[in-house]
């Protein structure tokens, strides 16, 4: 039992940031991770920040919007669109409602938000930090765990670099204080882990390696797991593959002559199809081993799923894989590297 508890230590953190380029299945991983954490008994706040919501679709519920909604037992999902966070922030700063509204609607404000690069992202991270600090009346944290689906920007770490850039350029005042607090939170390995989602393919693997380098060298955010999505399974084991080869030889030596022509054709397709799967598996293995060779982190592999477009059942399946992987491969690393 103790081992199991240790294995799921990532759920003992406060904030899990999930990062990765577009198209790697980041939203799916976030949703599945939230399910796994909820199953482990955590109250999860799941956050995405997107003009078009993706995670609500995965849970099969209507869009949840800014305030969010409960999408599953123990999972509250919110979509914190940066511009809305910004507007909310202004409303808090300017106590007169009429003026706040005037301001948010004014062109100069829109310009300013656009002109100050990273301001929106900065305020959004500030909001996440505030949510992390929320307490119930009894002093207990309102959310056991926050899972953040970080926006897939052109350059992987651009979003996370914002508070560091702010701290560099602004030496004092509100911005600086806020930046320091955000940096404190996201660089604290006891509270935060950054997890990177990738695919066993050329571009995603290269980008992940680059991303880990910049996170380690420039930001010092503790990295939890590298999550490799869509790992194509091995169809046959070693001994079975040897047997397959013998079978193939015998087929070529007319071993299936007793079968009808139709049956022979289907057999041929099944043999070809296995070889296709085998090549795909080899390609997958090549990229998985490249990742493992290059990066000294812990990995979770999520198998490729042969099934219909995502629904809650599949999400459960992925999340079960994740729990198993977390239990089987507890993190070796607990310190910042």
């Amino acid at each position: 039992m103790k081992k199991k508890h240790e294995a799921l230590d990532i759920f003992e953190r406060r904030l899990l940031i999930i990062s990765g380029k577009g198209g790697v299945g980041k939203s799916t991983v976030c949703a599945a991770l939230a399910l796994a954490a909820a199953r482990a008994g955590k109250q999860v706040l799941l956050i995405e920040m997107d003009e078009r919501e993706r995670i609500s679709r995965l849970f099969g519920v209507p869009e949840v919007g800014y305030e969010g909604a409960s999408v599953h037992r123990n999972i509250h999902l919110r979509n914190l669109q940066p511009m809305q966070v910004m507007d909310e922030f202004v409303a808090q700063q300017v106590s007169v409602k009429r003026i706040a509204r005037q301001m948010v609607e004014s062109q100069i404000y829109r310009y300013f938000v656009a002109a100050a690069p990273g301001l929106k992202e900065f305020v959004t991270l500030g909001k996440v930090m505030m949510l992390e600090a929320q307490k119930e009346r009894n002093g207990k944290a309102k959310h056991d765990l926050i899972i953040l689906d970080a926006p897939a920007t052109g350059h992987g770490v651009a979003f996370l670099r914002v508070p560091f850039a702010a701290a560099e350029t602004v030496k004092m005042g509100w911005i600086r204080k806020q930046a320091d607090k955000i940096i404190d939170l996201i660089t604290d390995p006891a509270r935060t882990l950054l997890n990177i989602v990738t695919l066993p393919e050329e571009m995603p693997v290269n980008e992940t390696v680059e991303m880990c380098q910049s996170v380690r060298e420039l930001l010092g955010i503790p990295i939890g797991y590298i999550i490799i999505n869509s790992v194509f399974p091995r169809v046959l084991g070693k001994r079975e593959t040897a047997l397959f080869n013998t079978m193939k030889e015998r087929v070529e030596g007319n071993g299936l002559k007793k079968l009808t022509r139709t049956e022979r054709r289907i057999a041929e397709i099944a043999f070809d199809c296995f070889e296709t799967a085998q090549r795909r598996r080899e390609l997958t293995e090549f990229y998985v081993s490249k990742l493992k060779r290059t990066l000294d982190y812990d990995f979770i592999q999520i198998p490729f799923i042969f099934s219909k477009s995502f629904d809650i059942n599949l999400l459960e399946q992925v999340s079960t894989h994740m729990t198993e992987a977390l239990e089987k491969e507890p993190r070796r690393h607990n310190a910042v590297r």
Binding site: P117, R280, S307
Partner: protein, 392 residues
């Protein structure tokens, strides 16, 4: 219209779509095909994978056109009748060149190039990469030295970012509203703030609190320096926008068949139509295709009894009872695998049809199968072209 006809009738092909769907690879393969047929082609890429960049002879240096050497084609067994050039976009440099071009004098140019706000905008501002991709496209097109330009677009998350980039950026650069506020603010010093209405004063104070005084100063300097340049930028952006909508341009939407990606492609497609952009074709990459053809299924080759068949195969091939049993188990795994692939093919086709339902029947749709090896050299790209340019 077929894809082959697109190459003949159009002068610009823009490959657009979400990230990770093989846009760069698709753009490169279209360009290779056009060059092979005899056209003088330029492919403008944004962020190619290393091996693809190598295949195209692109080094780390951006913004320089390189001819893809005929030797690279020869290695793939192709004797191109035309010429292929490749270029990797350097957003910052393109922006700097644009500023230099529109500056009235060197002093004005340097003031802008050294402004912190400008540096941020030209490097990392949302939309600047899209804007500069368009700008570079316009520049190459205006030179008129190529028969065809194929543009690979940045992995934009939102279709709007991409289509609006030139306009949105120039609207921003205009900054007349901001200038109107800032000019008296800075000329009159802090006391000048009293001249404003109460609400404006609150706005400015709040902005100051959030961004720090220097940000306002930098912004003000930037917009004041930019004043004389704005008309040139605006005219240019209008011209770029017109070029995108011109009948010599073709937008080719690239996607993969996953559920969420198809949703994004649908959104992208609808936006292209809404903006009256010439949407001319759809390419779906990484598709699991049916292994058993329709005609085979029609002639009775049905895969629904594969498990029984697996028993037969094992029995026929095994020499001893034990071997028969082991081979039956292997054959059963093969049958299961075949079944998995059939299901994948079905899911992919279902997802794709959600998109194709919305597309006009005349528009060509091409399905490129999932390759079980990486595609990165000219030979591989030509192989992909068999699917894109097939006449079927």
């Amino acid at each position: 219209m077929l894809f082959d006809e697109l190459l003949e009738r159009k002068e610009i092909i823009i490959c657009c779509g979400s990230g990770g769907v093989g846009k760069t690879t698709t753009a490169a393969s279209i360009a290779i095909h056009a060059a092979t047929r005899g056209q003088k082609v330029m492919v403008l890429t944004i962020d190619p994978a290393k091996r693809l960049a190598n295949s195209l002879g692109l080094s780390e240096l951006g913004n320089e056109e390189r001819r893809v050497s005929p030797r690279k084609f020869a290695e793939a067994g192709i004797d191109p009748k035309g010429e292929l050039y490749a270029m990797m976009l350097d957003t910052k440099r393109t922006f700097d060149e644009l500023v230099a071009k529109h500056s009235l004098n060197d002093d004005m140019r340097d003031r802008i190039l050294n402004n912190v706000l400008y540096k941020n905008i030209s490097n990392a501002f949302a939309g600047s990469q899209e804007y500069m991709a368009m700008e570079k496209l316009f520049e190459i097109y205006s030179k008129g030295t190529c028969d065809l330009i194929v543009l690979d677009t940045p992995p934009t998350k939102h279709a709007l970012d991409f289509l609006d980039a030139p306009r949105r950026m120039t609207a921003f650069l205009d900054g007349s509203v901001l200038k109107w506020f800032l000019k008296p603010y800075f000329s009159a010093g802090k006391a000048g703030i009293r001249m404003f209405q109460k609400s404006t004063a609150i706005i400015l104070r709040t902005l100051e609190k959030v961004t720090g005084m220097s940000a306002l100063k930098v912004a003000s300097d930037f917009f004041i320096s930019f004043e004389g340049m704005y008309d040139g930028f605006k005219e240019r952006a209008e011209a770029v926008y017109e070029l995108l909508r011109d009948s010599t341009t073709a937008f080719v939407l690239v996607t993969s068949p996953e559920d969420l990606t198809i949703e994004e492609a649908i959104y992208f497609h609808d936006k292209l139509v809404e903006y009256e952009m010439p949407f001319c074709g759809l390419i779906v990459n990484k598709v699991h295709t049916n292994l058993i053809s329709d005609s085979e299924i029609a002639s009775g080759i049905r895969p629904d009894n594969v498990e029984k068949l697996a028993q037969k195969i094992g029995a026929a091939l095994g020499k001893t009872a034990n071997e028969k049993k082991a081979m039956q188990a292997v054959a059963a795994s093969l049958a299961k695998n075949l079944d998995n692939f059939r299901e994948l093919a079905e899911i992919d086709m279902e997802n794709i049809s959600r998109l194709t339902e919305r597309i006009d029947k005349e528009t060509p749709v091409r399905i490129v199968p999932y390759f079980d090896t990486d595609v990165y050299d000219i030979e591989g790209l030509e192989w992909m072209n068999e699917y894109v340019f097939s006449s079927e």
